[in-house]
């Protein structure tokens, strides 16, 4: 692909914005970061190698900018530890003392069908926002930005054990929320 023009870049704005909002949970900050990304891309377009698509290239720039924001937040401690119960306590609460599930995960049948239902996505948004902020951010770094454990630990200066507890909690809580509110609740 040849060096992109401004219009080529702008058409990816909605995608970039959705990506940034998911990760940053703040529409204003997301808007700023996307703006910076498009500017940086425009300035650096001569360096576009053409080896990837414009979208992939832009996403790469955006990722770096988001990681910078996350690193800054982590350093400034604005990414505060979760209020209330810790991640480990939240996990413990879902299991009995002997390690069995309090509520065994039910079968969701054919969950892919839900992906075609607009209301499912509304519930999905609600459930992903129900996690504590810090847990959610870490989860999105892993699942939206697809950063490796090493990359996340380095950016946030946390240990792998710490990270895996947060990811475990995030997945458990998203799962439980979807089961209760969409897939019919335990026992069905």
């Amino acid at each position: 692909m040849s060096a992109p023009g401004n219009e080529d870049l702008q058409q990816h704005r909605p995608y970039l914005l959705r990506y940034a909002v998911l990760q940053l949970r703040d529409a204003d900050v997301a808007e700023d970061v996307v703006q910076e990304t498009l500017l940086a891309a425009l300035e650096g377009r001569a360096g576009f190698s053409g080896k990837s698509s414009h979208k992939t290239w832009l996403t790469g720039i955006l990722k770096h900018k988001i990681i910078d924001v996350m690193r800054r937040k982590s350093r400034e401690q604005t990414l505060t530890p979760n209020e209330g119960e810790s991640d480990a306590d939240a996990i413990d609460a879902l299991f009995k003392h002997d390690g069995h599930w309090q509520q065994f995960p039910a079968s969701w049948g054919n969950p892919e069908r839900a992906l075609e239902d607009k209301r499912f996505w509304e519930m999905f948004e609600i459930c992903s926002q129900r996690m504590p902020e810090r847990t959610a951010r870490v989860f999105m770094m892993r699942e939206v930005m697809e950063l490796s454990s090493e990359e996340i630990c380095k950016a946030l200066d946390i240990t792998p054990t710490n990270l895996w507890v947060m990811l475990h909690r995030a997945r458990l809580s998203l799962r439980a929320c979807l089961e209760i509110n969409w897939f019919g609740g335990p026992g069905k």
Partner: protein
């Protein structure tokens, strides 16, 4: 054999790192016997795919 709690942790971590053979063995044994944890395993894959689909704008308008 690992408990459900332990298995749920291993299944989650399997999405983030390579498990050791001992961990895999315990996991497989437990999963042969436990429907709940099998459901959980499938749900983790589903959740991962759903987040990516959401990011890529695949939700119906």
């Amino acid at each position: 054999m690992p408990s459900c709690k332990e298995v749920s942790k291993l299944l989650s971590q399997a999405q983030d790192r390579r498990l050791g053979w001992r961990e895999k063995l315990g996991l497989e044994l437990h999963l042969k016997l436990c429907d709940g944890c099998n459901n959980f395993r499938r749900q983790l894959d589903f959740i991962r795919a759903a987040v990516q689909r959401y990011r890529d704008g695949g939700k119906p308008r």
